[in-house]
C-alpha cells in the first residue's frame, strides 16, 4: 500500500511539474508576507484555523458498491471535516457559505479568491475516482488559501468499502502538514459498552473507528469484561474476563473473533497490556491477597515476576522503547506512581503530588505519563513527565479514569462516570483544551486507542 502511495504521489508530482501552469512544488510553502501556514499545537487558548472542505469531486462517473463517486466525494469531505474539527485545531466552514463549487479542474487549480472571501485559511479538496477493479482512488489536496500555494497532495487507493479510511488518511495528511505532528484519525477505539443497573452491569467489548463510525460489539455480554487494550499490530486485544467465574487475562483476535485465556495461573490475572514489540504481556496477578506485576511471553508461555513486595502493584504500562515500565503501587501507604526497568530492577517512585495517583499510561511519544488523580472525592486525568516533573491536571470529574493515548500522543481518551452511575467516553488534548464527549450507542468505559492503522 505504502509503495503504491509513493508511486501515485510521485506520478502526480511528475505530472504537475511537467505542466507549467500546474507546477506547484509540494510541501509547505511560505506565503509572501504571512510565513508558512501552520497550526501551533502547543499554543494556549488558540483560535482554530478556518478551513474549507468542499465535497470531493467525482473523478469519473463511476459507481462502486459503497455508492457513486459523487456520493463518496460528499461523504469523504464530511469525514475529513469532522476529523479536523474534533482535534479542536481547525474550524471547518459551513458549506452553505461556500461561493464556489469544486469540479475536477478546480481541485488542481482552486479559485483562491473565492475561498478568501469566506476567510478560509486552508482548503482541503480532492477527487474520488472509481477504479476498474471496483476499488476507489481518493486524491487529497491541501492548499494555503491566502498564499495561493499547495501544502500537500496524496492519492489513496483502496477498496470501495475502505473509503472512510482513505478520508481519514487525507485528514491525517492535512493535520500532519499543518501541525508538524503525525496524525491520528486513521485509528480505532476498543472499549467496554455498559448497560443495565449499577448492581448488575452488563459489559461488552465494542470497537469503532476513532470517529465513532463502524461500531460493533465483540462479546455478547454474558461475561463481565474489563480493560481491553490493543496489541501493537492492532489485530489482537488483551482484556480481562470473568468467564467461568475465573477472572483472568484473555486475548481476542479481531477478524476471527477467537477468544483465548492467557496462561494457567493460580490467582486472578488482570490489568494487562502488551509490550511495544507485541511479544509479551504485562499484567498483575493477585495470589492470596498480594498483587504483583508479571511479564508473560506469549510464544513461550513463560512468566516472570517483576515485583515482590506485599503491597498492591498494578496497572503496568511499558515505555515506547520497551526498556521501562511505569506502574502504581501502594507500598508507600497509598496509591502512587513508580517506574522500574523492564526486568523489574531500579523501582522508584515518581509521583509526589497531592492525593493519590493511579493507572499510569506511558505516551507513545515517550514524553509523558498520563494518570488518574484521586482527591477530595473526585477523579481527574493528569500528565507528568516520566521523571515525575511537570505534573498538570487536565480534567476534573466525579470519576474520570482509564486514560489512553492517541497514536500521536497529543490527545487522551478517558472514561467519565457521574454519581448516577452513567458513564461515557471523553477526550482532552494534552494542553487540557478541547474536552469533548465521544458518542457511543450505550454507556461506555475503559477506552483504548489503537496505534495508527497500517
Amino acid at each position: 500500500m505504502r509503495t503504491i502511495h509513493r508511486l501515485l504521489t510521485a506520478t502526480l508530482l511528475t505530472l504537475a511539474t511537467a505542466t507549467a501552469t500546474l507546477a506547484q512544488p509540494a510541501g509547505p510553502q511560505s506565503g509572501p508576507q504571512t510565513g508558512p501556514l501552520r497550526v501551533d499545537i502547543n499554543a494556549g487558548l488558540m483560535q482554530p484555523m478556518p478551513i474549507a472542505v468542499p465535497a470531493f469531486a467525482p473523478g469519473n462517473a463511476g459507481t462502486t458498491e459503497a455508492g457513486t463517486t459523487t456520493a463518496l466525494g460528499e461523504r469523504a469531505a464530511q469525514v475529513i471535516a469532522n476529523d479536523l474539527r474534533s482535534s479542536g485545531l481547525f474550524r471547518p466552514l459551513d458549506p452553505a457559505a461556500f461561493t464556489t463549487t469544486v469540479g475536477v479542474d478546480s481541485v488542481l487549480a482552486p479559485d483562491f479568491a473565492a475561498w478568501r472571501t469566506i476567510a478560509a485559511q486552508a482548503l482541503v479538496t480532492g477527487t474520488v475516482t472509481a477504479n476498474p477493479d471496483g476499488g476507489i482512488t481518493l486524491a487529497c489536496y491541501a492548499y494555503d488559501v491566502f498564499a495561493g500555494t499547495e501544502i500537500a497532495r496524496q492519492g489513496f487507493v483502496t477498496t470501495a468499502a475502505g473509503w472512510r479510511r482513505a478520508a481519514h488518511k487525507c485528514a491525517d495528511l492535512v493535520y500532519s502538514r499543518l501541525t508538524g505532528e503525525s496524525g491520528y484519525f486513521d485509528s480505532r477505539i476498543v472499549y467496554v459498552s455498559e448497560t443495565g443497573p449499577r448492581t448488575n452491569r452488563i459489559k461488552r467489548l465494542a470497537i469503532m473507528d476513532q470517529d465513532g463510525a463502524q461500531h460493533r460489539f465483540l462479546t455478547s455480554g454474558q461475561n463481565l469484561v474489563l480493560t481491553p487494550r490493543f496489541a501493537p499490530g492492532q489485530q489482537t486485544i488483551t482484556y480481562m474476563s470473568f468467564e467461568n467465574n475465573r477472572p483472568r487475562v484473555w486475548l481476542y483476535t479481531l477478524g476471527s473473533g477467537r477468544q483465548e485465556a492467557v496462561g494457567e495461573f493460580q490467582g486472578m490475572s488482570f490489568a494487562p497490556r502488551f509490550s511495544p514489540d507485541g511479544q509479551n504481556l504485562i499484567f498483575s496477578m493477585a495470589v492470596g491477597g498480594n498483587t504483583d506485576i508479571w511479564r508473560y511471553n506469549i510464544a513461550t508461555r513463560q512468566s516472570v515476576r517483576l515485583t515482590t513486595g506485599p503491597g498492591i502493584d498494578t496497572s503496568p504500562s511499558y515505555s515506547p522503547d520497551g526498556r521501562q515500565i511505569v506502574f502504581e503501587s501502594d507500598r508507600g501507604g497509598s496509591q502512587q506512581i513508580y517506574v522500574m526497568n523492564a526486568d523489574g530492577s531500579n523501582q522508584r517512585r515518581i509521583s509526589f503530588g497531592e492525593g493519590r495517583s493511579a493507572s499510569p499510561v506511558w505516551s507513545p511519544r515517550g514524553d509523558y505519563v498520563a494518570f488518574t488523580r484521586m482527591g477530595s472525592g473526585r477523579f481527574g486525568i493528569g500528565v507528568m513527565r516520566p521523571d515525575g516533573t511537570g505534573e498538570r491536571l487536565l480534567t476534573n470529574g466525579y470519576q474520570d479514569e482509564g486514560a489512553s493515548w492517541s497514536p500521536n500522543g497529543r490527545v487522551i481518551l478517558f472514561s467519565r462516570s457521574d454519581r448516577s452511575g452513567r458513564s461515557g467516553l471523553w477526550s482532552v488534548d494534552i494542553s487540557g483544551l478541547n474536552e469533548r464527549r465521544l458518542a457511543t450507542p450505550l454507556d461506555a468505559s475503559d477506552p483504548a486507542w489503537s496505534p495508527l492503522l497500517p
Binding site: I4, L7, V104, G135, P197, G257, S284, A286, M374
Partner: protein, 180 residues
Amino acid sequence: MTTTPLRLTLLTSLVLSLAACSGQKQEVAIEAPPATARPEAPATTTIGEQIPAMGGMTVPGSQEDLREKAGTDTVLFAYDSYELDAEARGVLARHAEWLRANPGVRVTLEGHCDERGTREYNLALGDRRANSAKNFLAAQGIGVDRLSTISYGKERPAVAGSDEGAFAQNRRAVTVVMGR
C-alpha cells in the same frame, strides 16, 4: 485558456497510472464480523443467591440457612481497608461455626469495593478483602479446600448510590455457598 489541454493530459495519465498500480495494490484490511464467537459460559449469579425455602423450612446448608444462622452473609470494611474489625470477626466466627455444622459445604469469599477507587486497584483490594475473610475462616479450622476467593472490585456493588451509606454497604466480603 491554456490549462484545458494540460488538465486533460494530467487526468488521462492519472487514470493510466492508477490502472498500472491496481494489479499490485493491497487492500485495506476490513474485518469480517466476529465469527460465531465461541459459546460462552452461562451468566453467573453470585451475590445473595437464594435457594427457595420449602414449606417455610430453610434448606440446611443453603445460602438462606447461612444468613439465618449467622445473621448475615456479609462483612463490611472501612474505606480502602481490608482489616476485619470486631464486628466482622464476630460474623465470620459464626460463618465458621455454620461451616463446621455443614461439613460438606464449600463457599466462595467474594471481595467487593466501593466506587471510590480506580478499576484495577479495586480488583486487587477486593482480592485482599476476600482473602482476609478466607484466612480468618481457615484460622478457625475450616479446610482451605472448602474456601475459594474471587474479587469483583467495584463491578458489583450491593446497592446503587454514590453516598457514604451506599459506599459502606458496598465495601464488603460475602460468604457465598457454592454447594456440597
